[in-house]
């Protein structure tokens, strides 16, 4: 057995590394660069019932150690994702996690119901944390009761396990996590982006046309690690961690904090080969750390009195 294979609800992963939603489109572009079958899974771009154009440009801005985006959930809509993108992805031996979004509960339910029927969709990722749309999105992600109710509704219709993607823009992440667990979530993915802004000194105006955007990249990693550390001790469902991962070492840090798998977002733009690179490097790192299997590392930072084998990078 490989030291990297992971079983999570609905997901039989060859390895715990997957591109994060919105940073990999529907895989077409990256498929020109490497074989997608080597990935643990793919989190596809958020899908809404109808096609969306998203926000005006500029949609991205660089920040110290990170970037802001305000794409605004641009996507070709449920029908096209179901009839074109997902069937195209079937050529690869890789489970798909379908990120679903909407403005109303009904939107989520509609997308969940249909996408969960696609043969290669092995799990849903409920995006209640998109900061870049006027209605829905993050509103569900900052109110525990709304989050719980939505999770329950989606669970009722979904034919595959449901993961809920949490927003870091909250006072108490544990409260939301526990609410969606009560709502029946099979797992959590965290974190989505932090709400941020950059102002251009040349114009005096925000760089993004949408003014605010979601902060991602290495700068948010400590926030992600903290939240996963807190949440993983208080829920009994697994967490797929993300937020600033740039390397195999970062993946390990997420596991130590409490994650059971890891997703890479922004770094795909910086280094389009980053996912296969990390997957290749992980086994050697595990060996250095004296771990037989990566799952041993999940939550090691809070499982007391178990210090790791001395490891020097």
């Amino acid at each position: 057995m490989s030291s990297l294979s992971i079983q999570l609800p609905g997901l039989n992963l060859k390895n715990p590394v997957m591109p994060a939603s919105g940073c990999f489109g529907f895989g077409r572009e990256f498929s020109q660069l490497y074989d997608l079958s080597g990935l643990g899974a793919i989190m596809i771009k958020a899908t809404t019932p109808e096609p969306r154009f998203g926000n005006p440009t500029p949609r991205v801005a660089e920040t110290p150690g990170g970037m802001l985006n305000a794409i605004g959930l641009q996507n070709p809509g449920l029908e096209k994702v179901f009839n074109e993108e997902l069937p195209w992805l079937e050529q690869f031996d890789v489970p798909i996690m379908a990120n679903i979004a909407g403005s109303t509960e009904d939107d989520y339910v509609k997308v969940a119901e249909q996408l969960s029927k696609a043969p290669n969709v092995h799990a849903l990722e409920l995006n209640i944390s998109c900061p870049n749309v006027k209605t829905g999105g993050i509103a569900f992600g900052t109110d525990p009761e709304m989050a719980k109710a939505l999770t329950r509704k989606v669970k009722e219709v979904s034919e595959v396990p449901v993961y809920v993607k949490l927003s870091p823009n909250v006072s108490d992440i544990v409260k939301i996590a526990r609410a969606v667990e009560e709502g029946g979530a099979d797992g959590l993915t965290m974190i989505n982006t932090l709400l941020g802004m950059r102002i251009d000194l040349m114009t005096g105006q925000p760089i993004l046309a949408n003014k605010t955007g979601g902060l991602s990249g290495p700068s948010v990693k400590p926030v992600a690690i903290r939240m996963i550390y807190e949440v993983s001790q208080r829920v009994s469902i697994p967490i797929i961690g993300m937020g600033g991962i740039q390397s195999a070492e970062d993946v390990i840090e997420f596991f130590l904090a409490g994650a059971s798998a890891a997703a890479v977002g922004t770094q795909n733009f910086v280094d389009p080969f980053i996912c296969p690179k990390i997957i290749e490097e992980l086994p050697e790192m595990l060996a250095k750390m004296g771990a037989d299997h990566i799952s041993e590392l999940t939550g090691r930072s809070w499982k007391k009195n178990e210090r790791l084998a001395y490891y020097r990078p």
Partner: protein
């Protein structure tokens, strides 16, 4: 095919005020076909700055290629500081460039470049002239000290220069010169600031016009939806083009600029 390669710096020198010409050695030059394609450059290891910088290909050589950039913010300043022999992480070639084949031998192509929109015109002029297309270049700058590649472009045909302050060439904009060439162009190729591209589109100076757009980018390869624009036939709707992978060169009238 898109490749990622550590390309060695062969030369990196100022050619005008804050304008640098950088020659990079790399096998990915063999993948480069069109002017107007671009490379995505990681100017520093680590995350300061984090994102790659898109820069047009100015010249495709055998085993190397040239890019020309303005020292502007953090990224291009770091690039300007790099010396010969150092390696730079380059992703490319990206996007679809100018379709040189649209100009037939014997026809007249007018190439319009504004500021750092000039560089792709050099490779294009080279390709067109090689095929027997009659090349006229019009290049515009702010001021005399910003002018570059006049001589280089002159190898392939007539060159007109405009400067905004009149300190070199003709005072005014590239469109002022275009106006004076009425009827001569069978095809126009242009790259430069958005207002210039709009004026050229509106001016309809030739039966066919190709424009190279600029947009803030994330991935540069079509995966992140950072750089989309509406198509002209559906300006409020859902249809779109990605500047990075469908463009950056579009035919006039194809997308909303």
């Amino acid at each position: 095919m898109i490749r990622q390669e550590n390309c060695k710096i062969v030369s990196n020198r100022p050619i005008a005020d804050n304008i640098f010409e950088l020659v990079l050695e790399g096998e990915l030059s063999a993948e480069m076909a069109q002017s107007g394609q671009f490379v995505h450059v990681k100017v520093a290891d680590g995350f300061d700055p984090l994102l790659r910088r898109p820069i047009s290909i100015a010249s495709i050589n055998d085993g190397s290629f040239t890019i020309i950039y303005r020292r502007q913010g953090k990224g291009t300043s770091l690039l300007a500081d790099k010396s010969i022999g150092i390696s730079v992480d380059v992703l490319g070639p990206l996007g679809n460039g100018f379709p040189a084949d649209e100009a037939k031998p014997g026809q007249t192509a007018v190439l319009v470049g504004g500021g750092v929109g000039v560089p792709p015109m050099y490779e294009l002029a080279k390709q067109l002239a090689r095929k027997g297309v009659n090349v006229i270049s019009i290049i515009g700058f702010q001021s005399s000290n910003a002018v570059f590649y006049e001589k280089e472009l002159a190898e392939f045909g007539e060159v007109y220069v405009a400067t905004v302050d009149g300190s070199y060439g003709r005072k005014g904009f590239v469109t002022d010169i275009l106006d004076g060439l009425e009827g001569q162009a069978d095809i126009v190729f242009a790259c430069g600031p958005t207002p210039m591209l709009r004026a050229i589109e509106n001016g309809a100076y030739a039966p066919k016009t190709y424009l190279s757009l600029e947009e803030r980018m994330g991935c540069g390869i079509g995966a992140c939806f950072a750089c989309v624009c509406h198509t002209k036939d559906d300006p409020q709707g859902f249809s779109y083009k990605k500047v990075c992978s469908d463009g950056p060169v579009f035919q006039a009238g194809e997308v909303v600029i």
